[in-house]
């Protein structure tokens, strides 16, 4: 079974989704939770069976699909994707468990299960086209979730989300076709397999164009400035569960793809574009943080904060060294947990008051102390308090990028200041002060169902903040191999210089460890 | 010389007739001019030695086609003047003139291509009809048969469209109405 565990992970939720049509409406939530739980357990088993010492792909599956055109069903996980898969399984479970009474709960759960299939598919695909299939397919359930259960502008938001990302990924598709063609030219065989592509060394001029093509697709997904404007709408209108999944997993697709595709395929172009992208990241970080500060709607604050944090992830990715990339992968998970939790928290208050305007609240800490506490913990995680999960990622990302540019890191570091500004002021507006609105006086505190969803998130936030090693270790191994690959493939002098040779570093690292 | 005179004469006549056909507001004039034009065209065929084609032209066009059109016109009572709202005449004339001028500009140049071998040459001593027959029933047998099918299609189409009960539309009827019609049909048949 372990040989096909990835396929099982991908298609089990889909199958369960199809079967879900037969389930009675009242029992649907229980069904959804059980399926998601089984899936989560399977993903944990994957982790358990995962060999931490192997830096390459594990649990590979290979099935010819369109061999004459080089499209094969290839799956595999490494340390980079493993945890995002687990996170996807986890958040689907949490999401379903915390679903408050929505209309058409059956449709919602089936959609979520399909969404889960696409998410896990994206992160385990090792074939460009299979990746693309899941990548695109993930838009559909999300479109439905936002469009059917969202706020007043839901249709605008969902269509915008869909079309924007769709347009971007089509450009990426053209890039993939070019990659396959270059591979064909080099070897005489069509192939979309990512591992095959890794072996291809392209001239720098080609790399630049292909990098740009892939970049459009990824950047919109991340979303990077100035392609980010779909996100506030999507989050603003989406139901809680939609925002949670969107922020926690779907956005990670873009950043993950940068590491899976852009860096190892185009090392020279990555170096070439490092500064422009870093500047974009910094704009993302500061600009969106300031925009977040100007928001009146707490969900929009969290949404813009997502963009801001994604900037740090991108920055870490383009540090092009082990520290930075490991940090950015870790931050993906961290941001997933934290922003997911924040959206859940916003959902809690929205369920009670049906408004997300901060001016409607104030003094909630009096009436909902538990809620305020959990929100506070998550907020502090979001602003990068050490010993919370976010800090590890943020610290490593910035640390990594510092090697490339000091000034830009300093500017990017403003994240920790501006982040604190919008988060604290939002928290203050919502929770501090006297209770001014009569409606808020008797709000019930978080209930059991919400706690079931939130407590694990709090625990993870702190656990991985204190002891990130179980996650960081495998990530580090895989990232090292990626960086080494980049170093080996780099053709230009500058790229060779910028991308460290890990094999040399490994020795010194063990030496460092021995020294302790 | 005769050829030239004939060409220019008939060219003038056909152009004039067809010009009348497309411009006159009297349907009857148009029909007559068209028929005349067709006949003049057959004259070209005779000049060019395509006797069979000339004969077919006269029979089919001036005979069958014109008869059908005339029938149609009677049906529509088009003895009245045809009132047509004309839009921008400039566009119509302009486009057509432009097309003509441009094609003519190219067509006045001689064709310089060489090796213009005739694939189905005319045979000395045989009449045009014979030659045509030979080619038609060997090389163009299949197109000929398909043309027969085409005519059958046209016939069936004509019958269906004009002959059958197209004025009662089952498409627009509700189920009950359609049923009534069926019952009536059955009564008629039985």
């Amino acid at each position: 079974m372990l040989d096909h565990i990835l396929s099982i992970l991908i298609f089990f939720p889909a199958l369960a989704g199809v079967m879900g049509f037969m389930i009675n409406k009242e029992s649907m939530r229980a069904y959804g939770v059980s399926v998601a739980f089984i899936e989560f357990a399977l993903s944990l088993w994957l982790w358990f069976a995962f060999d931490n010492n192997i830096s390459g792909m594990q649990f590979m599956e290979h099935l010819p699909l369109i061999p004459s055109f080089g499209i094969n069903y290839i799956l595999g996980v490494d340390g980079i994707s493993l945890f995002i898969i687990i996170l996807a399984a986890f958040f689907t479970m949490i999401g379903i468990a915390s679903l408050t009474d929505t209309k058409d709960v059956k449709n919602m759960i089936i959609t979520l299960l399909f969404l889960q299939m696409t998410m896990i598919g994206v992160f385990s695909a090792l074939d460009g086209i299979v990746f693309y299939v899941f990548w695109e397919l993930s838009l559909v359930p999300m479109l439905y979730i936002i469009g059917a259960w969202g706020g007043p502008l839901r249709i605008y938001a969902s269509v915008k989300f869909f079309l924007y990302t769709f347009a971007g990924s089509l450009v990426m598709l053209v890039g993939m076709l070019f990659m396959a063609y270059f591979f064909y030219q080099a070897t005489g065989v069509w192939s979309f397999a990512i591992l095959d592509w890794y072996r291809l060394i392209l001239p720098e001029s080609f790399q630049l164009w292909l990098f740009a093509a892939f970049f459009v697709g990824f950047a919109i997904k991340v979303p990077m400035f100035p392609f980010h404007t779909w996100l506030p709408y999507a989050h603003g209108q989406a139901p809680t569960i939609g925002s949670v999944i969107l922020a926690a997993i779907l956005l990670k697709m873009g950043t993950y793809a940068f590491i899976r595709f852009s860096l190892p395929l185009f090392p020279d172009a990555s170096v070439y574009f490092m500064y422009p992208i870093a500047v974009i990241s910094i704009i993302m970080i500061i600009y969106t943080a300031m925009v977040a500060y100007a928001q009146k709607d707490v969900k929009q604050v969290v949404a813009y904060s997502s963009v801001s944090h994604m900037g740090v992830i991108i920055l870490g990715t383009f540090a092009l060294n082990v520290e930075g990339i490991s940090g950015s992968v870790f931050l993906m998970i961290a941001h997933g947990v934290v922003s997911g939790a924040l959206f859940l928290l916003v959902g809690v208050i929205y369920d009670r008051r049906h408004t997300k305007l901060m001016s409607e609240f104030g003094g909630l800490a009096h009436v909902m102390p538990k809620y305020a506490t959990i929100f506070g913990i998550m907020m502090m995680a979001s602003v990068g308090m050490p010993l919370t999960i976010n800090f590890v990622g943020e610290f490593l990302s910035l640390l990594g990028f510092y090697q490339q540019s000091h000034i830009l890191t300093l500017l990017a570091g403003i994240a920790i200041v501006v982040g604190a500004i919008y988060m604290l002021s939002a928290y203050k507006k919502m929770f501090f002060g006297e209770v001014t609105k009569e409606e808020n006086r008797n709000l019930p505190d978080v209930n059991k169902r919400e706690l079931i969803a939130l407590i694990p998130l709090v625990l993870i936030t702190i656990w991985l903040g204190i002891y990130p090693k179980p996650v960081l270790g495998p990530i580090n191994n895989s990232v090292e191999s990626v960086v080494q690959l980049m170093h080996n493939k780099a053709t230009s002098e500058e790229a060779k210089m910028r991308i460290p040779n890990v094999s040399g570093v490994v020795i010194s690292k063990t030496a460092t460890k021995e020294a302790h | 010389m005769f050829e030239a005179v004939a060409f220019y004469l008939f060219a003038f006549l056909t152009i004039a007739m067809f010009y009348i056909t497309v411009t006159t507001s009297q349907a009857l004039y148009a029909l007559t001019a068209l028929a005349a034009g067709m006949i003049f065209i057959s004259a070209f065929f005779f000049i060019l030695g395509a006797d069979f084609l000339g004969a077919v032209q006269i029979i089919v066009y001036t005979g069958a086609v014109m008869a059908l059109y005339a029938f149609g016109m009677m049906f529509f009572d088009t003895t009245r003047e045809v009132k047509e709202k004309q839009g921008n005449k400039f566009i119509v004339v302009g486009l057509a003139t432009l097309a003509a001028v441009m094609v003519v500009a190219i067509f006045v140049a001689p064709i310089v291509s060489t090796n213009m071998t005739a694939f189905y040459p005319m045979v000395e001593g045989a009449g045009n009809t014979q030659e045509v027959g030979l080619v038609l029933f060997t090389k163009y047998l299949i197109p000929f048969e398909v043309a027969a099918v085409m005519l059958l299609v046209a016939m069936v189409a004509g019958i269906v469209l004009a002959g059958k009960k197209m004025d009662l539309s089952l498409t627009l009827m509700s189920a009950e109405q359609a049923k009534d019609i069926d019952d009536k049909d059955k009564k008629v048949l039985s």
Binding site: P386, F432 | L98
Partner: protein, 639 residues
């Protein structure tokens, strides 16, 4: 010894978590007691560790577990108990224990009693991490942790707008400094390859000075935030909105001294870059004077003490900057004792006065609150640096250091400040405890604090008195780690002149304060007196208009810029995306009439299409046919 280390470290955490369990329940007396006991345990362990170190024992160094390890980076949770950290631990645990005990009484009627202890113990834990960590990353954990707890405690009474505002201000301002600190840490890592003190510092000796200078500057900026040095000082005065025990613990004794601790800890770095050290000293001297001047006219008891704290931190930086690390640490310790005492005393007064903070509305409280008055007076004497109290030994050493190092400007500034310190301290004491009983006008009936609170405070009182006596032992111990820079004046005479001169100067200042505020009638300032309208008075009362400037030139523009950027986001970035989409939609909308449904038009389109193709064909055909000629013509034209 490792066990004691862990106990010292984790007892506060346990305390915090235990208290946190009860945050949502009504006040439980035992929470306070248990918390105090646990902190006391930590204190006990620290004491054992101290005696171990004092007894010449080895430095206790443990590596608990790996925190982050990736690439070349390896950061463990490592803790070290050496001479410096054990001193800090002692200060922290001792003051904490006392503040915990005190708080049981002080927070008696507060419904957030349990929560208070959770935060307070969490703070102690963070502080312990800060001082005990054996690497910069761990230091940063504690650094941020104390920031967080400070946020929670300043904003403890979160229903008060000013309190939460002050909490956020403190947090954000600290964050600015933390950014610099983070950059400093990155610099350390990329240049030395490690964040461990015992690897990084030795490696620094080989680095080039400019790198080291940047390192020193960035780390010091971090220290400036935490220690509220100019220009990041405004948060400290505002932080007085928090409960008074918090002010005593965090904003006087421990957290604010973290910056000093950082500089002391990095002594090996700062020794390599004396220029930066001089800058630190100069800034310290400036802040000492600057803060003292603001304390002169302030009408808020706690703020006055806060400014005095700020001023004393300036002293510490002077010492640290001049390389007299042990002196800085000693002053830090002594200051912690008497300043905490002062604050706790102020807390008693506040309690008695029902949270009235204006000393002009007090007066003559000595009769009602004898013990408090004694304690505060002694603390003030210590603060003023009168022999033989703690302040004398530590402050005198700083003055000596400045003098010996020939930084006479710094020396004279801090000497003058010493006089100011004495004046404002006793201005406060005089106004509160002596003179008319002005509080009666406001109908307040003051009472002395609980006994156990006073008893709890007594160790501080004792230490404020006798700490100077420990100087010798301390010196012996600390020079095991810190540079042994003893300052001896060239001549005995100069020493005596200086010492006695200083004492006299200070004493005169105290007498002036008493004369002005205790022995002559004091009227509540109402904005009419001549002094109140003088420029200097206004300048000082408004804290040199710095908070105003921040509000006007930083906060407001930030708000406006944020709002503007949001507009940009909607009306430019987003609008352009929608605009592109709309181009297609609008084009479709506007050209759909091409499909008029009229057959005649459709036919015209077909012909038009053909004609368009034809014209292209003709152009192309002609061009092809006459290509030779065209080429000749073009070449004739020289194209």
């Amino acid at each position: 010894m490792e066990l004691y280390l862990y106990i010292a470290l984790f007892a506060p955490l346990v305390s915090s978590m235990f208290s946190a369990l009860f945050t949502n329940t009504p006040k439980k007396q035992f929470v306070g007691i248990v918390a105090s006991l646990l902190i006391f345990t930590a204190f006990g362990s620290s004491t054992i560790l101290l005696s171990h170190i004092l007894g010449g024992g080895d430095i206790v160094h443990v590596e608990m577990m790996t925190w982050m390890a990736t690439g070349n980076l390896y950061i463990p949770f490592g803790f070290v108990v050496d001479q410096v950290s054990v001193t800090m631990m002692m200060v922290v645990t001792l003051v904490s224990t006392i503040v915990h005990i005190y708080s049981i009484g002080y927070m008696d009627h507060d419904k957030g009693f349990n929560r208070f202890f959770a935060w307070l113990s969490a703070f102690v834990f963070s502080m312990m991490i800060l001082v005990m960590s054996d690497n910069f990353a761990g230091l940063f954990i504690g650094w941020e942790g104390v920031g967080l707890c400070s946020w929670g405690l300043i904003g403890f009474w979160f229903h008060k707008e000013v309190a939460t505002w002050a909490a956020n201000e403190a947090f954000i301002m600290n964050r600015i400094a933390d950014l610099a600190m983070l950059i400093g840490i990155f610099l350390v890592y990329w240049n030395t390859g490690s964040l461990q003190y015992d690897i990084a510092f030795p490696a620094m000796a080989t680095l080039d000075p400019s790198t080291l200078t940047w390192m020193g500057i960035f780390l010091f900026i971090g220290a400036m935030g935490k220690s509220a040095q100019f220009p990041l000082h405004t948060w400290l005065a505002d932080a007085m909105e928090g409960p008074t025990p918090v002010s005593a613990l965090i904003h006087a004794a421990t957290m604010v001294t973290a910056g000093v601790y950082l500089v002391i800890r990095s002594n090996e770095l700062y020794d390599l870059i004396p220029n930066v050290g001089l800058f630190i000293a100069s800034l310290g001297a400036f802040v000492a004077l600057f803060a003292a001047s603001m304390a002169l006219v302030n009408r808020d008891m706690k703020r006055i003490i806060a400014y005095s704290t700020l001023s004393q931190l300036g002293y510490m930086f002077v010492a640290a900057g001049l390389g007299a690390y042990w002196v800085a640490l000693f002053h830090l310790m002594a200051h912690a004792f008497f300043k905490a005492l002062l604050f706790l005393g102020a807390g008693n007064v506040m309690h008695a006065m029902h949270d009235e903070l204006d000393p002009f509305k007090m007066g003559g409280l000595y009769k009602k609150m004898k013990w408090t008055a004694i304690m505060m007076t002694i603390a003030s004497i210590a603060l003023a640096g009168i022999f033989p109290l703690a302040g004398f030994f530590s402050k005198d050493a700083i003055l000596e250091a400045a003098f010996v190092e020939h930084h006479f400007i710094i020396y004279s500034v801090i000497l003058f400040t010493a006089g100011l310190t004495a004046f404002y301290s006793f201005r406060l004491v005089a106004m509160i405890f002596h003179g008319e009983e002005r509080y009666k006008l406001f109908g307040i009936d003051p009472h002395e604090a609980y006994k156990f609170m006073l008893v709890g405070m007594s160790p501080l009182l004792i230490l404020a008195i006798i700490a100077g006596a420990l100087k010798g032992t301390y010196f012996e111990m600390i020079t095991g780690l810190l540079p042994n820079t003893e300052y001896h004046l060239h001549s005995e005479l100069t020493y005596w002149i200086m010492t006695i001169g200083t004492q006299v100067f200070v004493a005169l200042a105290i007498m002036y304060a008493y004369k002005k505020y205790a022995f002559s009638p004091v009227s509540v300032p109402d904005g009419t007196s001549k002094m109140e309208n003088s420029f200097m008075y206004k300048l000082l009362l408004n804290q040199y208009y710095i908070p105003y400037a921040y509000e006007e030139y930083i906060v407001k523009p930030y708000n406006e810029l944020s709002a503007a950027l949001w507009k940009v986001d909607q009306n430019v970035v987003d609008a352009s995306v929608d605009g592109i989409a709309n181009i297609f939609y609008k084009t479709g909308e506007n050209t759909r009439h091409m499909q008029s449904g009229n057959l005649s038009t459709m036919l015209k389109w077909m012909v038009a299409g053909t004609v368009a193709l034809l014209s292209l064909a003709v152009v192309f055909g002609l061009a092809a046919r006459y290509s030779g000629e065209i080429r000749t013509i073009l070449s004739g034209l020289g194209v």
